[in-house]
């Protein structure tokens, strides 16, 4: 990576026909076709869901992983504005934008999954099922998307030159950040709490009354790792759109976040370990499920925590970046384990669920839309740079 930077990142133009655009366009076409199938043939036309598996990868990946990986928004904003670590400032806008798009896509993807998408707001506005964990998830996600939108708003407002509104939004930053952290705490943990009501269907290694805590704590290092991972990608693709302070801030973000993630992962490892001790689950470790559980805990929590520490100690930015990828995969592995492997573990294998190709296709379609919109916004608004007139004013 060079240390040169573009003095006028807002003037960069990108060509229309690029490999990314072509592939993205193809995926979108397939996605539109799958959308047609979904809304004319029902869920059966595109998914392998059945009465025993009402939730498939659209929940496991799009909802559970999507929300966990979008946790970079609240962690970065909190680190910068609540804990006052201004060196992370450069990371805030990309992280908030990613989080906003992440959550927006979660909501978008849910329109495919639920039977009556036009009633998605019913739980909030028509009849509130307050005893349901899903109600808490829904309410918090709804509020948090709004918060993230407001947090993101200054970027386009600066671009459009709507100064007055923009300055009001900037003044709200701290309030929004704190509100965002509270909402995130609640719904990140509630996603784990969703599974509390079905103990009889969950494998004991993953079922615990502490599931909400596990989900919340893991969302923190998921978010931090995602920010590292993303900044790696952004630097590859958007290097010429970054200004000096963004480029200079990135190593601080990478090392600081790696260290924080390692600490939290160590804590996570131990509370999960004590979970095994408390529930006396030793006997299960020696089974197939125990093996998967051990891989998850050792290979995707302990190992990356160790590698993060090593990377920070030896100032090895490359190692940290790869560790971030490993951690992100670990989070996906964990959410899949909870929602698909541990769930219905007692069913015979021929009754188990495996996603249909079209189902995976829709998920890829949703991710692609995210990338397209991210690109659209990041190339048009001050995300990786500050416009001269607003320099240092937020």
């Amino acid at each position: 990576m060079t240390n040169q930077h573009n003095e006028h990142p807002w003037e960069v133009k990108s060509p229309w026909i690029t490999p990314f655009n072509v592939v993205a366009a193809l995926i979108v076409l397939v996605g539109i076709y799958l959308t047609y199938l979904r809304f004319t043939g029902g869920l059966a036309a595109v998914t392998n869901l059945d009465d025993n598996y009402p939730w498939g990868i659209w929940i496991s990946f799009d909802l559970l992983c999507g929300v966990a990986l979008a946790a970079g928004g609240y962690t970065t904003a909190a680190a910068c504005y609540v804990f006052g670590i201004k060196k992370y400032h450069a990371a805030v806008r990309p992280a908030v934008l990613t989080a906003f798009l992440g959550y927006a896509l979660v909501v978008f993807a849910l329109h495919y999954d639920v039977g009556q998408p036009w009633r998605l707001a019913y739980p909030i506005f028509v009849q509130q099922g307050t005893t349901s964990v899903l109600f808490e998830v829904g309410l918090c996600v709804f509020l948090y998307v709004t918060v993230l939108f407001l947090e993101f708003l200054p970027a386009p407002l600066e671009r459009l030159g709507i100064k007055r509104v923009r300055n009001i939004m900037i003044k709200l930053t701290l309030v929004l950040t704190v509100f965002g952290v509270i909402l995130s705490t609640m719904h990140q943990s509630s996603l784990g709490a969703l599974y509390l009501i079905l103990p009889s269907k969950m494998h004991p290694l993953w079922y615990s009354t502490h599931l909400p805590i596990y989900f919340f704590v893991s969302s923190m290092f998921a978010g931090l790792s995602m920010v590292i991972f993303e900044s790696t990608l952004s630097h590859r693709w958007y290097h010429n759109r970054m200004d000096k302070s963004h480029l200079e801030g990135t190593p601080h973000v990478t090392f600081g976040f790696a260290k924080a993630a390692a600490w939290i992962m160590a804590g996570y490892f131990f509370i999960k370990f004590f979970g095994v001790v408390l529930n006396n689950n030793w006997a299960y470790l020696n089974t197939f499920y125990g093996m998967i559980f051990s891989i998850e805990m050792l290979g995707f929590v302990a190992l990356p925590a160790f590698l993060y520490i090593k990377g920070v100690k030896t100032r090895n930015i490359k190692l940290i970046r790869w560790t971030a990828v490993l951690t992100v995969f670990g989070i996906i592995f964990n959410r899949f384990n909870v929602s698909l492997v541990a769930y219905n573990y007692h069913l015979p294998s021929e009754m188990k669920y495996f996603p249909a190709l079209a189902e995976i296709g829709v998920t890829i379609f949703v991710i692609t839309i995210g990338l397209i919109v991210f690109k659209f916004i990041a190339t048009r608004t001050p995300i990786f740079y500050e416009l001269p007139e607003y320099k240092g004013s937020h």
Binding site: T40, G42, L134, V178, V181, L196, F255, G256
Partner: protein, 357 residues
């Protein structure tokens, strides 16, 4: 906002969401998590199914299909080959009979009927985020298709794997399950399946009556029955009760569900208190790690300033500044800048006076 205040805010926010709530419908709703207060709706309707009596004729399945105008079944109601597999409920089938002995299909001696258990504290109702499912005072767990969002969390939550879904329907697919013939209950009539059973394998009455009847049967014929009324306490109790000649797992009924009502598993988490107390230590460790890093950055920044000073104003000034800064370890950004300004001013004054000479 300082760290303590901030954590307090999170704690307070967690506490505002509480778990207990109503899942009972009707004019006299009671709290869902506290149905014990009404002693398991003793006067609500209940059905007692006796596996000792059922002959596997599937008349009940047919009665249900006709009463509820369900689609024609895939396999004819008189075809015994249906017993070759163990089935569950689906969108066409609110209730079904499975055979659990080793005899040829349809000529065995051990059958059990499956349908919604009509739990006293239904997991489906507790989990629904729009209250599409609710428990009626008369015992029926009913579904409101006009508000259902189709999220299928109820299906995830039901410990008896009862609700099914119309996956093949594109617009307005519904969650389907036995309704306890809710329309008939309103007139005090027994459900269709109970009525059509030729051998009276099911009895209908209040929950207290059915429990007493079950007890009497066990007492009168202790070697015909296992000494357990399934549904008396399972998952907090149900309005459909079962008697069996063999241990219940042998007729596909789990004995490890426990007696805790489903809602109790989540009320703690929704209450928020345990989460907040438990994640605090971890959060603080994270915050601590970040804060430490912050101090380090501050130190680095200070060092950067010092070296820049040395470059700008000569080694003499730089050394002095470094000395002064190292005395005050805890300087923040503003204080550092102040020191730098002073050092610069001093240096400038010095140069001026030198030039004047």
């Amino acid at each position: 906002m300082n760290r303590r205040k901030f954590l307090g805010a999170i704690g307070a926010a967690g506490l505002t969401i509480t778990g207990a709530g109503k899942v009972l419908a009707g004019e006299k709703p009671v709290m869902g998590a506290a149905v014990k207060d009404v002693e398991g709706l003793p006067d609500s309707y209940a059905v007692l199914f006796d596996s000792n009596i059922c002959i596997g004729c599937r008349q009940c399945e047919m009665g249900c299909q006709q009463e509820n105008q369900l689609p024609e079944p895939d396999v004819d109601f008189h075809d015994p080959r249906i017993f070759e597999q163990t089935r569950r409920t689906d969108w066409k089938t609110y209730t079904l009979i499975n055979q659990y002995d080793d005899e040829a299909p349809g000529v065995g001696w051990l059958y059990r009927k499956t349908q919604c258990m009509h739990c006293l504290e239904p997991a489906c109702a507790h989990s629904c985020f729009v209250k599409a499912f609710s428990k009626r005072q008369d015992g029926a767990v009913v579904y409101d298709r006009k508000v259902c969002v189709g999220c299928r969390y109820c299906m995830m939550a039901c410990p008896f794997n009862i609700p099914a879904y119309e996956y093949h329907i594109a617009l307005d697919p519904l969650v389907t399950k036995c309704t306890f013939c809710e329309h008939r209950l309103l007139d005090g009539r027994e459900p269709a399946c109970v009525e059509v059973c030729p051998v009276r394998a099911m009895e209908f009455g209040t929950r207290t009556e059915m429990l007493n009847l079950a007890r009497r049967r066990i007492l009168d014929n202790p070697d015909m029955y296992v000494d357990h009324i399934y549904g008396e306490h399972e998952m907090g109790g149900t309005n459909w009760l079962y008697l069996s000649p063999v241990p219940f797992p042998e007729i596909g009924m789990r004995m490890d569900l426990g007696t805790t009502p489903a809602g109790n598993y989540t009320s703690g988490a929704l209450g928020g208190v345990p989460i907040i107390t438990a994640f605090w230590p971890v959060l603080l460790v994270g915050a601590y790690a970040i804060a430490r890093r912050k101090d380090k950055i501050a130190r680095e920044e200070r060092d950067q300033y010092v070296s820049r000073m040395i470059a700008q104003a000569g080694p003499e000034v730089g050394r002095k500044l470094a000395e002064r800064l190292s005395k005050a370890q805890e300087l923040d950004q503003a204080a550092i800048e102040e020191e730098v300004r002073k050092a610069l001013a001093e240096a400038a004054a010095k140069t001026e006076s030198e030039e004047a000479h």
